[in-house]
């Protein structure tokens, strides 16, 4: 291919340049690398607006709550003290996919961000199975607008304090407001509004029946011994509260639902950090290099880009003062790059470990991996000995019954599998979060609710449990118990 003139040479960006870069990046991404994306909406913002976006977890609209104010003041403080830089971009899983670019960025950074967010993340949102099943990119903005308005209306009608404390309680249980296995039905925001009224009415009547105190003689004779309620343990605690809490008013149920929906929306993101960032990083790297090869950008551009890229994928070692866990950008990028390498230049070791993909078409393989995995399974499937050696991973076991922490595997032939397994589990949300489910409600008696915690590897609950239970009690309206079961013995009971 003949080398073309660079699009621009200076560090300053203009709207025309943004558009030109975007066109080239889009061309390369779509034609050459088959990235399928939602339409892009690029928004240029100031740094204080970026802080706003930070505070509301990247959402363009969000209901008001003090916790966002808390995030905002702490971001503001850290930023003004120079203790943290702001991200160059924020991207929202919506259709069109909204990406925020900071005005302070240089042209190079804007190009990097466009490639990273508008084509990397965007195609991930559109392609990955978790996002496809759990989120509805088309409806999310509408839903957020609905939620904001609804909560503002509630505040007006029932007072800020009532709404605030309810939201506090819901937030405490937010991680338990997701369906982990059941598939949701996608629903548009307009339908949501219409259905909300209907739901209000239905739930109230339905509930009354559950909590009926006047005996229904005809029925009771036929009714066999009542089983536990719910019949099966329920993993989605907020859903259970929304549908069954005896004394919540209908607006309160709707608020619970809003928090639950938000949790569900963010659930895929929490499960695909490594993949999502790795994918986006891999593509900004690949696309910008491609642009360089075509002559669209010059050396100065590449140097600035590479400096920034290197910072993004830096992985401090465990004993470094900068160590704060495994950098998802670094791991994701290394794995994506490694998959390409395995496809293009497999070594004997790769052929032994990955007979299926060694030598296959790298683009196809990478797309397949992006679409069908989440962090846990992606690592389990694709983490190669090469990457393990590159990061010099080593696995440890911390057992409270032993006086030492044991090294169980390192980056050697005997250790690869173990390291990979442990690392993969490290990204498994269901083993990271305590497994707590609604176990029983004493409907004939004091209406108390029992939650059950099944300990994983005998790991107990943290100190905040009592506080969370108080929130649970506030939502449920009656006593709440939490039984925490160890591997072999019944452990603690918490009550609120």
């Amino acid at each position: 291919m003949s080398r073309r003139e660079p699009i621009s040479t200076g560090p300053d960006w203009t709207f025309e340049l943004l558009e030109q870069y975007d066109q080239e990046i889009a061309r390369i991404a779509k034609e050459k690398f088959k990235l399928d994306t939602y339409a892009n909406q690029i928004e240029v913002i100031r740094s204080d607006q970026m802080m706003d976006a930070y505070a509301s977890v990247g959402m363009p609209v969000s209901y008001n709550h003090w916790t966002y104010g808390k995030k905002f003041v702490s971001t503001e403080k850290n930023y003004s003290r120079g203790r943290m830089g702001l991200a160059y971009e924020i991207v929202i899983n919506s259709d069109p996919c909204i990406a925020y670019l900071m005005e302070e960025n240089s042209m190079t950074m804007q190009a990097l961000v466009i490639a990273h967010a508008c084509y990397g993340h965007n195609s991930f949102f559109k392609g990955n199975y978790l996002f496809r099943t759990w989120t509805d990119a088309e409806a999310i903005i509408d839903y957020l607008v609905f939620a904001k308005k609804y909560i503002a209306d509630c505040e007006e009608r029932h007072g800020v304090d009532a709404v605030e404390s309810l939201l506090d309680s819901c937030h405490a249980l937010m991680n338990y407001g997701v369906d982990r296995y059941k598939r949701p039905l996608p629903i548009s925001a307009e339908a949501e509004r219409a259905r909300q009224k209907e739901r209000e009415h239905y739930i109230q009547t339905h509930l009354n029946d559950l909590w009926r105190t006047i005996p229904d003689t005809a029925k009771q004779i036929d009714e066999p011994q009542r089983k536990t309620f719910p019949e099966d343990p329920q993993e989605n605690i907020l859903y259970f509260v929304e549908k069954n809490a005896p004394h919540l008013e209908s607006w309160q149920r709707e608020v619970v639902r809003i928090v639950r929906k938000m949790a569900q929306y963010f659930y895929p993101q929490r499960q695909t950090q490594v993949m999502n960032e790795g994918w986006a990083t891999f593509w900004h790297y690949t696309i910008l290099n491609e642009m360089y090869d075509e002559g669209l950008v010059n050396d100065a551009f590449m140097l600035e880009f590479l400096t920034s890229h290197t910072n993004v994928v830096a992985q401090p070692e465990y004993d470094s003062p900068y160590y704060s866990g495994i950098n998802p950008y670094a791991l994701g990028f290394a794995m994506m790059t490694d998959i390409r390498r395995i496809c293009e230049n497999p070594t004997d070791e790769d052929k032994r470990w990955f007979p299926d993909i060694a030598g296959s078409d790298w683009l196809e393989t990478l797309h397949y991996a992006m679409k069908n995995y989440r962090d846990e399974s992606f690592i389990e499937q694709y983490l190669s000995p090469t990457v393990i050696r590159q990061f010099r991973f080593f696995a440890l076991e911390d057992n409270e019954y032993k006086s030492t922490i044991d090294v169980t595997a390192i980056h050697d032939d005997e250790g690869y599998r173990r390291v990979r397994e442990v690392l993969s589990q490290q990204y498994n949300l269901s083993s990271n979060e305590p497994d707590i489910q609604v176990y029983n409600v004493n409907i004939r008696g004091d209406r108390s609710l029992t939650l059950r915690h099944y300990q994983h590897n005998d790991r107990p609950l943290n100190e905040e449990t009592d506080e969370v239970l108080k929130h649970m009690r506030r939502l449920w309206g009656y006593d709440v118990r939490l039984e925490s079961f160890g591997d072999n013995h019944q452990a603690k009971v918490f009550e609120a």
């Binding site: 240029v44 100031r46 916790t67 405490a172 495994i326 911390d398 409270e400 030492t404 305590p434 609950l461």
Partner: protein, 425 residues
Amino acid sequence: MPYIIDRRLNSKNKNTVNRQRFLRRYRKQIKKAVSEAIGKRSITDMDRGEDVSIPREDVNEPVFGHGPGGRRDFVLTGNKEFVTGDRIQRPPPQGGGGAGEGEASDSGEGDDDFVFQISQEEFLEFMFEDLALPNMVKRQLADSSEFKLARAGFSEVGSPSQLNVVRSLRSAHARKIALGGKKRRRRKELRLELEGFVEPLTEAEESRKKVILDEIDVLSRKINAIPYIDEFDLKYNLTVKLPQPSPKAVMFCLMDVSGSMTEEIKDTAKRFFFLLYLFLKRNYEKIELVFIRHHNTASEVNEHDFFYSRETGGTVVSSALTLMDEIIQERYSPSQWNIYAAQASDGDNWQGDTEKCVELLTEKVLPCVQHYSYIEIGKRPPQELWYSYKEIQGGIFKDRFDLKAVQDNTQIYPVFRQLFERGVS
């Protein structure tokens, strides 16, 4: 096609509400931080924001999570010396260095307080919260110098520059409809009739047609003669002048500068004056300051001299009160001004002068002022002045006279609060 939007011009502070919610929730802590800050700050920088720190656990939002204990496998990067089977001494429980924080949540870790900054405005807001100026009733309305123009509907008269075009044309339109309505209706009838004729026409029809055409002609002329716009239609925007309540206040600072007043005492007094000034500034648009210092004679001085120039001599408090009275008579008519006075002293006074002070206060000064506060600074037991003033406080002016004893800088703010606490009057 991408869609590039410039959002930079959008309003900032999207999170103002959330921020307010946050401040509202932690009001108590912030208030405490503010009053501590006031104690520590130098007098010249009361007027800025402040870092507030709240214990981390107070702002923590609890979630279910794993506590320490049980068995946990994890992976770290950057192995240098370890081989499989190595046993590593457990690091001390808190913090744990780098070991194993890979996936543990970082909340609950570290005892750092949650620190954030409140703005100057918020600082003052918290500083003067729940405080009210006593007797802030006298608002000068008669002072005609300040007016605000306000819309007050429409008028038939006015200057051309105030012409309201839309209203005028609307009224012209209505007039035209009203005046021409009957004629228009008649013309319409005639036109309909005209359309009813079918060719060829009989003679009678022919003549009828002519009559009709003539009448239509006349009607049309009359309709067109209705003026497009008339004097009568013109409407003007009406604005009225509303007298602006322009609360003016004057604050008298009285201080003893006799030999017994040390620098330290003066500094404390300065803080008190400053707080009062800031507070008044929030309540009145216009504020004037009068500094009167006295030893055995009183003089009006500028701010710098008031606080910094050194004088020695005896102490005759009444001299200051006399001067204040004169200044009020001369420049600050009580009917026009809200008068506040603050007196700071170490309590010393010339023997026999105290009675005169009480007399001056009750007869001349107190009837004019909104509030008079006296603070006695120093670690000594209350002096003569205190006891006499105490009696005034029990008298008929108790609603506008207050006295408090202050020992050092840190007490200034609490005392100030006590003086101006929003009472249940």
